[in-house]
């Protein structure tokens, strides 16, 4: 249920901002052709991304991130309640085998996140059951062997057990936990101030201080930690290489693999588009390899080429090869026969037709293929680096995750996303520059 809260808040912001932006702000200022159309529902061309929605969407994501991590970038009154940090106490009553009772107090203290903290100094108190002290790390529970400092008769080994916590009678006898009807005697859960207390199977105290609604940094660090990590790693590097080396290595592998994949794949695709024999020979291979996810080739490539640079480049080569071959093939078969006929009638030779008609005609398809191939290669290189690498974006987040450096993991994922997006933008820009006639033939 609690995990639904961020989602519900998200939904609420979605709906609220829609109402605010569209009903209140925009009402009077509709402009453009789309606004003049009376039929927009079902008219895909009338649907354009609402810029305001995009901006609010991104801001909302960061806002939620900040709210649930207690980020310093978000005003404190918006924060979800954090874990309880501080001290508390409660009493408990022990009864020994002979029915003698004594009361003692537990003094507990929660250390701030990331700190160990110190046990509170206490007075052991009167009687056979002594007072206890414990320090608990933020977000954690702690088990307290309350009888360790008690007199012999009041130890659990001697049959003593807790019969009351913070004034609430409890009925749990660890000695009888093996009996058939043990499940009919559930362990008590007692609410004390800022914590809940219960008993372990063996009758020890389990103290769970109030954890609040925020995410533990180890699961989700606040945004500023991630940014700080970015600057740290950008200046100090990570595991013997700078951030730029990690990213550069990944990019270099993609570029080299894609380059060789295209170098072989494009001529292969052209040959398949121009010759029956080539088409017949390579069709089964290409059609079979196309649906094999490149990631499935990692084990084989590791066996053949090792986990070094060569293995990765071979993998990316294979990832790009089939995509580019298929793109070039459909680029050739997509040529309108009347264009080829026209060229022949104008006196062009075969090689001239290849150069002036078939290749330029296939460029839009090649670009589409290249965009897909770059995307696949980028995904594949990261995955391959997760498996094994000395440098690279994937290696960075994998190693960080082993050491639970969640901030590095998140920073890495964001960088990987940004670079992947950047590659696509670059390809689209190149496409617009180099094949402006695309889709206008």
């Amino acid at each position: 249920m609690t995990s639904m809260v961020p989602f519900l808040i998200y939904l609420a912001i979605f709906a609220a901002s829609y109402l605010v932006v569209n009903k209140a702000i925009r009402r009077a200022v509709r402009t453009g052709l789309a606004a003049r159309k009376t039929v927009t529902f079902g008219d895909e061309s009338a649907v354009v991304p609402d810029r305001a929605a995009s901006v609010i969407s991104i801001v909302t994501l960061f806002l939620l991130w900040g709210i649930f991590t207690g980020s310093a970038l978000v005003p404190a009154f918006l924060h979800m309640p954090g874990p309880y940090i501080g001290g508390g106490r409660f009493t408990y009553v022990v009864e020994d085998r002979d029915g003698r009772r004594d009361e003692a107090t537990v003094f507990w203290r929660v250390a701030a996140p990331g700190e160990k903290g110190e046990k509170p100094e206490i007075d052991p108190g009167e009687g056979p059951a002594k007072n206890d002290a414990i320090v608990i790390r933020a977000y954690r529970s702690a088990q307290l062997s309350w009888d360790r400092n008690d007199e012999d008769g009041f130890r659990r080994k001697a049959g003593a057990r807790i019969i009351e916590i913070a004034g609430v009678p409890v009925d749990y006898d660890p000695a009888r936990r093996g009996e058939a009807d043990a499940s009919d005697r559930p362990k008590p859960v007692v609410e004390v101030e800022n914590a809940t207390v219960t008993l372990s199977d063996k009758g020890a105290l389990i103290i769970t201080p109030y954890t609040g609604w925020q995410m533990e940094p180890i699961w989700l660090p606040p945004p500023e930690d991630v940014v700080k990590r970015l600057f740290d790693i950008a200046s100090e590097g990570f595991r013997g290489a700078t951030l730029w080396e990690h990213l550069g290595f990944s990019l270099m592998r993609v570029v080299v693999g894609f380059f060789f994949g295209s170098l072989v794949g494009i001529p292969l695709g052209y040959a398949m588009g121009l010759s029956n024999w080539f088409r017949g020979w390579f069709d089964p291979i290409v059609e079979f390899m196309r649906p094999v996810p490149p990631l499935a080739l990692i084990p084989l490539v590791i066996i053949w080429a090792g986990i070094g640079e060569l293995g990765k480049i071979v993998l990316l080569f294979l990832a790009a090869l089939w995509i580019m071959a298929i793109a070039a093939r459909s680029g050739v078969s997509g040529v309108r026969i009347s264009k080829v006929h026209a060229a022949y009638s104008l006196g062009a030779s075969k090689s001239q037709i290849m150069r002036h008609v078939i290749v330029p005609n296939s460029l839009p398809e090649l670009f589409t293929g290249a965009r897909v191939a770059m995307g696949v290669c980028w995904g594949t290189v990261v995955a391959a680096e997760l498996v094994a690498a000395e440098k690279g974006a994937g290696m960075m987040i994998m190693v960080a995750s082993k050491f639970q450096n969640t901030d590095i993991v998140i920073m890495g994922i964001i960088l990987i996303g940004v670079i992947g997006f950047g590659i696509d933008i670059l390809m689209r820009w190149l496409e617009r520059r180099l094949v402006p006639w695309k889709g206008k033939g």
Binding site: R336, S338, K339, H341, A342, A343, Y344, S345, L346, G347, A348, S349, Q352, H356, V357, P360, N361, L363, V435, P436, W437, K440, G441
Partner: protein
């Protein structure tokens, strides 16, 4: 200048499943140099097939096509084609499209430029030299196609419904242009069309083809093309012979179409 002879050409397409289609049967035609012939016929009667054989894109199953006595075995620069649409190279601008033929031949730049400038002037696209193909209207694109064909200076021009996709007004302008170019250049032209009016106006000779198997059904010699050079085509339509001929041909094609429909009904 070239003479074109189509001698006993038959074309059979073998279909998968053992059947075949007799697209053309025993078609014989002779075109003198500088003749303009229009070809009419119901859909599927083999007009495009005939043109493709003349162009050299298809080899006939029987018979032969000869230019000045030399048998055609493949496409060649002495036979230019103008297609219905979409045969321009959209990766080249207007000038590069028009100069394509000369460029492939390796003509010197200066000479080539002169030809291109002249032809773009002729077709009225002098101001659009550097425009991309997709920036032009359909009529402009067909004028580029015409200029591209003429730039290569072919002896025979083959047109397969070159004006089919244009609106009536643009079409009429283009018809005048074709007539003018025909008279000025003296090219031998075969023009396939679906429009009886166009066939009448542009066809010095007019062939009506019949389907199944594709063959020549009737042949006309008409005065309208000669009259139409430099004249208002709408005036030509007032010629006393114009309407009767048009009615006759329309009826002829109508009957053929009906016959096809009837036959398909029996067949199914």
């Amino acid at each position: 200048m070239a003479e074109l002879s189509i001698e006993n050409v038959s074309m059979r397409f073998d279909l998968p499943g053992g059947t075949s289609i007799q697209a053309l049967k025993d078609v014989t035609l002779h075109l003198k140099a500088g003749e303009l012939m229009s070809v009419l016929g119901p859909s599927g009667c083999g007009k495009t097939t005939l043109l493709n054989i003349v162009a050299g894109f298809l080899a006939p199953t029987e018979g032969r096509v000869a230019i000045n006595g030399r048998t055609v075995t493949g496409p060649g620069p002495e036979r230019g084609m103008v297609f219905q649409q979409g045969a321009l190279f959209e990766w080249m601008n207007v000038r590069e499209n028009v100069s394509f033929g000369p460029r492939m031949k390796g003509m010197p730049k200066a000479e080539m430029q002169q030809i291109v400038e002249h032809l773009l002037d002729v077709v009225g696209l002098a101001d659009f030299k550097d425009k991309a193909i997709y920036e032009l209207s359909g009529g402009m694109q067909q004028r580029v196609a015409l200029a591209r064909c003429l730039a290569n200076d072919p002896d025979v021009i083959l047109m397969d419904e070159p004006l089919g996709a244009l609106d009536a007004l643009t079409r009429e302008k283009m018809q005048s242009l074709v007539l003018r170019l025909w008279k000025e250049t003296g090219k031998t032209i075969i023009l396939i069309t679906h429009s009886v009016e166009e066939a009448l106006l542009l066809g010095e000779r007019l062939i009506v083809m019949a389907p199944r198997p594709g063959r020549i059904h009737r042949e006309y010699r008409l005065p309208f093309a000669d009259l139409g050079v430099g004249a208002d085509l709408r005036e030509i339509k007032k010629h006393p012979d114009y309407d009767p001929t048009r009615e006759e041909i329309l009826n002829m094609i109508w009957n053929m179409e009906e016959e096809i429909m009837g036959r398909t009904e029996v067949a199914t």
